[in-house]
Symmetry: C2
Subunit: 150 residues, 2 copies
């Protein structure tokens, strides 16, 4: 395996799949004594250009972010369209979906991981950046999210 592929080992987010983001956000806010963040829908596919397993998908999700020390907890409630979010929720249920790292040169990083038998699962654009979920479950036992912020 190539070494030090990401050029970072700083975890920036933990993504948790949930069925009811309003309810679970409120529980997190109460439990940790913080304000309940506003949940919001990801943009439509014309903006996000989301691809799941190599095909365009209209999948969207509602997201809510909590600042937890040096990293964020991201709650994710997917819609019914095909996505890694929906697949995970249907197959494994609610729980930790991914761990995220911020990288430079996302396209190149995706290629390097793919060359190490770590397939791209889903990618998309968002206001100010883009992401890729890489299936590193065989090696690292987790789904890895690569985040590139402009």
């Amino acid at each position: 395996m190539d070494k030090n592929i990401l050029n970072t080992n700083v975890i920036t987010q933990i993504g948790i799949m949930v069925k009811d983001i309003e309810k679970t956000s409120q529980v997190f806010a109460d439990f940790f004594g913080v304000d309940k963040p506003e949940a919001f829908w990801t943009d439509a596919v014309d903006k996000t250009q989301t691809e799941y397993k190599g095909s365009s998908t209209e999948a969207r999700a509602r997201l809510a972010f909590f600042d937890m020390g040096s990293l964020q907890l991201e709650l994710i409630q997917p819609d019914e369209n095909p996505s890694t979010w929906r697949e995970f929720l249907d197959e494994k249920g609610e729980g930790v979906h991914h761990i995220a790292f911020e990288v430079k040169g996302l396209t190149e990083k995706i290629k390097i991981l793919e060359g190490n038998q770590m397939p791209l699962v889903q990618k998309g654009e968002f206001e100010g950046g883009r992401y890729a979920y890489m299936d590193t479950s065989k090696d690292l036992k987790i789904i890895l999210e690569l985040l590139e912020i402009d």
Copy 2:
């Protein structure tokens, strides 16, 4: 639910259950370009006083820690005795088992969480501190580890 139960929202560890800690530690070390940490066995039950679901258990695990920015990744390979580690590995397979927070007054925190329908799953002592895994999966969708360091 009681509010701000932990008096902290700083995540200190992410615990990942693995089947082969030597192999997976090497992959993590290579992937992130860091040294492979020495894995070690937790102490025997006479020292750890481990209780799983209210009963004493001889369960032990091999642990390896990686410093990842401000928090640690903990790899855990359990033995065959009854534990939350073994149960998770058998039922859900390899992957994220818990998210940890450091607290003061562990015994009191356990009581408060139990009073909020978040049951104690497993607890034990280690050199320099003690831990409790709380089943917060209904509310927070994760297993929570409370760590008390002396």
